[in-house]
Subunit: 246 residues, 2 copies
DNA sequence: TCCTAATGTTTCACCACATGAAACATGGTT
DNA sequence: AACCATGTTTCATGTGGTGAAACATTAGGA
């Protein structure tokens, strides 16, 4: 490797360990060692450190590790002022009340997207969206929006080292992205999740940068492709208003 | 030092850096270096690592660091099932409605206490309690409860390396703790915060361990010492119910 | 305008310290 | 008991983290 390392390996590993707890909330030592491919004893030392600092705790019963109080404490000190998750919540609730379906808000984070906020439909049969979920960028309406409106450099990087299902430079995919940019929204029909359909639009801030993707989704029994296209203008109007806030 | 170190220094430092963001939400490099007493370049390498992993981000405008998305993502994966902060919330709201004052929930964490939940009084003049705040263990009604019901070993450790304001083994303090254990609640009158008064009781789980402290607090204009003692039985009943849940 | 100070960044030689193999301990299962 | 799967500790090795110092960049002050 040519570029000199200006990061600290031990810290990288410790942070990787922490992120393992997004996969499972309770992990054993060897389990972690397997996940990040390190020797038991190395993981053990790192875990002792994390435990001593309160970032993980050992469950009294199972002897396994789980995330600790310090993680929670840190999260309370995240700057809330410009946080889209709280800023857009009222608008998302209005949208839910108007369309009657689950509304989600996504951020692009590296090669994934992150559901940072969701308000659930209150109909009996509904799509339940989990806040904090990390999802792939290659399927789903919101993914297509986030990719379509990403900068060309970001797109290149995404296509490069991501295990994209089909060749993105196959022309057809690029044409689809172009179409999304033109009409301003993307749809998906049983694309990531069987039985679910969605429309998504970008939220553009005043600098013209796409800050997030807003989507409405529900069960295919209630939502046809026609419905998706009917929802689109309503979503775009809401997204426009939200974009003015940041 | 006799006991061999079985922790990783670099990771300890990185975690210390993260915890600095509970003091201020925006920090510069030299600022951090000053806080944890390390060389600039060392902090710089650690920050690069934290940034690359998404645990901190640089504010585009100020060039300073703030907590990143990964912290938030982690926090959404904290196991909510047995979390007192969500478990006790309904009970705390009922208590607030009944007494009309701000209700807080505290956990002991090391040599401090942590406000992990709060429901605000809806009166015009009220005490506003910030969730996530780290407070000292040597003043306030909740502190006295947490100390009084701590195990003797924990108490020893607390008195030892904590900068306690007055000698705790001075007899008077110990007698006060004994009294709190006897009657089951503690009060404070403009003790930590001028103009504020509070009552606190322990929440005891079915194993007989004190899991948390529950307090009701408000402005001295509305709350006399008599009021505190009137509140106490109501609080104790609520705390008893909560204790049965865990 | 130049000078100074303060901040962030990179380089580098040293040797502390993180590392992983292996031995050890523990508890559960057959 | 013998086994296996966990977690824990020890220890020699040399990698990789460290901090001093040099460098870069910007802001302000005279």
């Amino acid at each position: 490797m040519e570029d000199r390392k200006l990061t600290v390996r031990a810290v990288e590993r410790a942070l990787d360990i922490l992120m393992c707890f997004t996969k499972s909330s309770e992990l054993g030592l060897t389990e972690i060692a397997g996940l990040i491919d390190l020797h038991k004893s190395t993981v053990h030392r790192l875990m002792t450190t994390l435990e001593e600092k309160g970032f993980v705790v050992r469950d009294a019963a199972t002897e396994k590790y789980r995330l600790g109080l310090k993680v929670w404490e840190l999260s309370t000190h995240l700057s809330k002022s410009d946080d889209p998750a709280v800023l857009f919540l009222p608008g998302m609730e209005r949208l839910r009340d108007r369309l009657g379906e689950t509304v989600s808000l996504y951020l692009r984070d590296g090669k994934d997207r992150l559901r940072i906020q969701a308000v659930q439909s209150n109909q009996a049969i509904r799509r339940v969206a989990q806040v904090g979920a990390r999802l792939p960028l290659y399927v789903g309406a919101s993914s297509k929006v986030l990719v379509a409106f990403a900068s060309p450099e970001d797109q290149q990087e995404l296509f490069l080292d991501s295990e994209w299902p089909e060749m993105p430079d196959s022309g057809a995919y690029m044409r689809m992205l172009e179409e999304i940019r033109e009409r301003g929204y993307a749809t998906s029909f049983e694309e990531r999740e069987p039985g679910a359909a969605a429309v998504a639009v970008p939220i553009v801030n005043r600098s013209g940068v796409v800050a997030a993707a807003l989507s409405v989704s529900g069960p295919v029994g209630r939502i046809s492709t026609d419905t998706l296209h009917e929802f689109a203008p309503v979503l775009m109007e809401a997204a426009h208003e939200m974009g003015l806030m940041i």
